[in-house]
């Protein structure tokens, strides 16, 4: 009777602290923006579970995306395992296809529009039980078996029932200790985020010993941009220490690479090049002007933080010339046929300023996981729009508001419920003339609001 009471008390204690806190890698939906050919798509790779099993892929199109088929394929270790054709329709929105993955590990999703093949790396996680979880379950199973043995012994020889009963108490103690302590045990480095994913590390991250290093960061990248032909840009990323292709980019703000280009006349493009080979990214851009373009790439390497690489690219005009959109100061203006009002607080170098864009209605959609994007380039030289020498090159975000009790991660692009105000806080470090671009999505169309602001000199500026 006393044993039963002890067991019940211990069970109550373990029930209060479940052993689920340890961090086996769990897959999540992957959202990746891709500028595939002339289409700006958001690729959503749904979490694959169980494995082997189906893999759902959605392509979210935007206003003006050309309809037509896109061939999607899955590839493991270079061998294609399944394929599906996703027919994009004329109406903007999500179009889906179902592929198949047959094992956990590092996979590639190949998207082929007939001209270009985007190779998107992703990791299919394995369902892994941590050693602590195993210890907990094992302890309770052993306790149960020993309880039966003790009961059997108690019927025949009550005195000897003490032996299995003591074993049972020990087993319960082991299980309870493992359950209570597991919350404090650091999970192993995650394959895919900290370590290069291989079939072995994904299958059993707990088999990986504590690494001999604690700093997982990697050297910076060098950005090599060049025109590969009319309307085609290529950006090669090479390691800043070894010169080798950089093939360990993480999805950061819903893209592998955020490529921002500013033309000599002050036009801005925010593109998401497709990975065509390890370390090699490609994007289509019809340049309307001949001259030197300022180029930047924002990316995150595995185990490291986000970094910004900048370079200059000489392009020859391949598109018919057209006037660059006007970039007036703050105030109301028309963008894509709708009224947008841009306001700023008084902007002084070294003081936090706020830039707010008001759209017509509270029906904005998150783009790249954010309500809005603000790109700041400056201070610009007098009388010129060239951004090549601009010391400040920033990318600020307006976050989607947090909904209490919301589950399932960030809202995707199909949720049109935000705004109408998109506000950014940014501290302009230097006085001068800056070019801004506010980007937000409405009606499956990414709107870009260009503006020019003057930042006054203050006594708090950094140098």
């Amino acid at each position: 009777m006393a044993f039963a009471a002890v067991v019940l008390a211990l069970l109550a204690v373990t029930g209060a602290a479940p052993a689920s806190a340890d961090g086996a890698p769990v897959g999540a939906d992957l959202h990746i923006a891709q500028t595939l050919g002339d289409r700006e798509l958001t690729v959503v790779i749904r979490r694959a579970e169980p494995v082997p099993g189906p893999l759902r892929v959605e392509l979210v199109t935007h206003t003006g995306t050309r309809p037509g088929p896109v061939l999607a394929r899955t590839s493991f270790a270079g061998a294609v395992t399944s394929s599906a054709t996703i027919a994009l329709g004329a109406a903007p929105g999500p179009y889906d296809g179902t592929l198949r993955v047959d094992r956990p590990g590092p996979w590639e999703l190949l998207l082929d529009d007939g001209e270009q093949v985007a190779r998107i790396p992703f990791v299919v996680p394995a369902l892994v039980t941590s050693p602590w979880e195993k210890t907990t379950y094992g302890g309770f199973v052993a306790a149960g078996v020993l309880l039966l043995v003790a009961l059997g012994a108690a019927v025949k020889r009550p005195r000897f029932a003490l032996v299995p009963a003591a074993g049972m108490v020990a087993a319960v103690a082991v299980a309870v200790t493992a359950a209570l302590l597991s919350a404090q045990i650091t999970p192993p480095p995650a394959p895919g985020a900290a370590l290069d994913p291989t079939e072995g590390t994904v299958d059993d991250p707990f088999a990986v010993p504590p690494p001999s290093i604690v700093d997982f960061s990697r050297p910076p990248v060098n950005l090599l941009a060049r025109a590969e032909g009319p309307g085609k840009l290529r950006a090669d990323l090479v390691d800043g220490s070894t010169g080798r292709p950089v093939d360990d980019l993480l999805v950061h703000d819903n893209a592998l690479v955020h490529l921002v280009l500013v033309s000599p006349a002050g036009r801005m493009w925010h593109l998401h090049p497709v990975r065509t080979a390890p370390g090699s990214y490609s994007v289509r851009l019809d340049a309307p002007e001949t001259g030197d373009y300022a180029v930047s790439a924002e990316l995150a390497r595995r185990g490291g933080g986000v970094q910004l690489a900048r370079t200059k690219l000489s392009l020859t005009a391949t598109a018919p010339p057209s006037p660059a959109p006007a970039a007036p100061g703050p105030g109301p203006r028309q963008v894509g046929g709708m009224p947008v009002d841009l306001k700023t607080t008084p902007l002084t170098a070294g003081r936090t300023g706020t830039v707010t864009a008001r759209f017509p209605a509270a029906d904005l959609q998150p783009w790249l996981g954010m309500l809005g994007h603000l790109i700041v380039v400056g201070p610009l030289p007098d009388g010129a729009e060239t951004a090549i020498g601009a010391p400040v090159w920033a990318h600020a975000h307006a976050m989607t508001p947090v909904v209490p009790g919301a589950v399932g991660g960030q809202p995707d692009e199909t949720v049109a419920a935000y705004g109408p105000d998109v506000a950014f806080s940014y501290t302009f470090p230097l006085p001068g003339r800056y070019r801004l671009w506010v980007q937000a999505e409405r009606g499956y169309s990414v709107l870009t609001v260009p503006a020019t602001v003057e930042v006054a000199a203050g006594n708090g500026e950094s140098r």
Binding site: A77, G78, A79, P131, K134, T135, G138, G139, V141, A142, V145, L146, V149, A153, K156, R157, F160, V163, P164, G167, A171, L195, D196, P197, T198, E199, G200, T201, D203, D204, A207, V208, P209, P210, P211, S212, I213, D215, F216, S217, R218, P219, D239, G240, S241, T242, G243, R244, P245, D247, D248, P278, R302, G303
Partner: protein
């Protein structure tokens, strides 16, 4: 008395067996031991890399390289180039010696320390240069 002395022995044996069984289930090595085998393919080549228990120090890298039709690929030169990505260390390429039937052997391939490595296999032949990269974790 001998009867009662025997009972605890049976009981203790039962307890020991249960405990041993649980411990074995818990700590049984989950993966089969053996060489680390990694596969990768490009448009022209399929490469299988095998290392017998990768460790800090001298290692032997065995490669099996086939072409798109599954036959032994005709190659003039194959090298194995280890890089430690976190440190930004690139090591001197190790030439791989053909052992026949698409097999190559690069020994010794020295990996100076444990951790995450990237092994680039570069293949040069009549059709030009081709490369595959294998991530390799060298354990303590």
């Amino acid at each position: 008395m001998t009867e009662t002395r025997r009972k605890p022995v049976v009981l203790i044996a039962t307890v020991a067996v249960v405990v041993a069984g649980v411990l074995a289930w818990l700590w049984w090595p989950s993966g089969e031991s053996g060489p680390t085998v990694l596969d990768a393919s490009t448009a022209g080549h399929t490469v299988r890399l095998s290392i017998e228990s990768p460790k800090a120090g001298d290692n032997t890298v065995s490669l099996t390289i086939t072409d798109a039709h599954g036959r032994a690929a005709p190659l003039d030169e194959v090298t194995v180039e280890p890089v430690m990505p976190q440190m930004g260390h690139a090591l001197v390429p190790v030439p791989a010696i053909a052992t026949g039937d698409g097999g190559f052997r690069a020994a010794p391939t020295v990996l100076p320390m444990t951790g995450q490595w990237e092994i680039t296999v570069t293949m040069r032949g009549a059709s030009g240069q081709d490369q595959v990269v294998f991530p390799l974790l060298v354990r303590n």
